[in-house]
Amino acid sequence: MSAFAAVIRKDLRLELRGGQSILALLAMSMLVLVVLVFALDAARIRSADTAAGALWVAMVFSGIVGATRALGAERENGAIRGLLLSPLDPATLYAAKLAAAFIFMAVAEAGAVILMVLFFNLEFNASLVRLAPVLMLGALGFSALATLLSAATGHTRAGDMILPVLAVPMFTPALIAGVKASTAALSGASLGSMSDWLKIMIAFDVLFITAGYLLFEHVVGED
């Protein structure tokens, strides 16, 4: 447990010191939302489906930027080898990296939601509370997938290019469910009415967290 906590603490410390991941995620979210606000018909700006779609586009793009950095600090100076040589169980390392990536993505998403409300002329009301679990499930699933893929592709020359090519199609089921559930949440629907979409997202999260936990040690090596 202490090694798990040590890795998260180290990642948070590096993030607070450099601020690169969250800033990059927020900058990408802002860019996507601004582009979409100007690209869309003004009459559609306040609609829930448009806002939800824009938010998830921003989330996926910013998530990919974050994912390419997920193990970046570990590759620098070969620190990943230091971790793999240590008594730390690779599955625990995966769990810690996933937890750190989720925290960064959740913080960035909170910022993106505020930007979405402002850019799409929405109101700060209870619908945003219903949106929270949808976004958290999305962030968890994307972090689980991206951490695993980042480990698998990070030591290849074209890793940064391969990652989005793999991540976006694989994330599609959760993406569709997330957009549908977010649209429902922003339209004022109850959590119960979006339970089918939430179940898909939960299944996606369980699948990729389990896959990451089991496969991480086999894909993270240099060999």
Binding site: S2, A3, A5, A6, V7, K10, R13, L14, R17, G18, A73, E76, N77, G78, A79, R81, G82, L83, L84, L85, S86, P87, L88, D89, G221, E222, D223
Partner: protein, 233 residues
């Protein structure tokens, strides 16, 4: 007689059809030290990475503490300390934070005290709060030595441990190696040429064209075959 700490059987490694290591046989007993010398690209670093379990051999077997290095569990990894070309340190963390982090990974009871002790030992107490990226290459190498020895490993794999060090740094790292051998650790180190280290008695081998052979300068040949003992034949 106790089992060897490191043992390899016809170890081979090939990168994209190019053989790097060919039929390397090693037997290193507890409390013994050996230097493997060789030029750039001779395969020294590859050999150490395989022994650390960071790479898989293409053929043959590498056994450390009686276990195949492809399946080294946490209990055995804990007993290995490694210095490599890369320092395994985080540039944006301070020297102290790096050591405390590794001390936590190795479940050392008091990470703060252990970090302070090792910073003192490698002469970096004055730079404890400097970020690694602001340290000189030599200081980073000393810190890397501290990281490798932090958990008192019983096997030290040292890839060019004296690289980038000034005379004082070489003497300091040599004394740490000496202390490790005194407490019973085994050392397998690499270098480009035979290091001249006072008070350290190492067996020396040469890795050439992927094959490990006794390093035998003329005067040593006349003295007798003291180089053969780690070659597992």
């Amino acid at each position: 007689m106790s089992a060897p700490v490191v043992e390899t059987h016809a170890l081979a490694k090939t990168y994209r059809l190019a053989p790097v290591l060919r039929e390397v046989n090693i037997r290193l007993m507890a409390g013994r030290g050996a230097f493997i010398i060789g030029g750039n690209g001779a395969g020294k670093s590859t050999l150490l990475r395989i022994l650390a379990g960071l790479e898989a051999p293409s053929d043959g077997r590498a056994i450390v503490f009686g276990n195949d290095t492809r399946k080294l569990g946490p209990r055995y990894r804990r007993r290995i300390g490694m210095m490599a070309h890369q320092s395994f340190l985080y540039p944006n963390l301070t020297a102290r934070e790096n050591l405390e982090f590794y001390a936590e990974l190795y479940s050392i009871a008091d990470p703060v005290a252990a970090a302070s002790l090792w910073l003192e030992r490698v002469g970096l107490a004055g730079s404890a709060d400097a970020r690694v990226r602001d340290l000189s290459r030599g200081m980073e190498q000393r810190l890397s030595a501290a990281r490798a020895m932090l958990a008192d490993p019983t096997l030290l794999l040292l890839d060019e441990p004296f690289a980038a060090l000034d005379a004082e740094g070489v003497s300091l790292v040599a004394s740490l190696i000496h202390s490790a051998i005194e407490r019973g650790a085994s050392i397998l180190a690499t270098a480009h040429s035979v290091p001249e280290l006072d008070g350290l008695e190492f067996e020396v081998f040469e890795l050439s064209h992927g094959r490990l052979m006794p390093y035998a300068p003329k005067e040593e040949v006349r003295r007798g075959g003291r180089f053969r003992s780690i070659l597992g034949r």
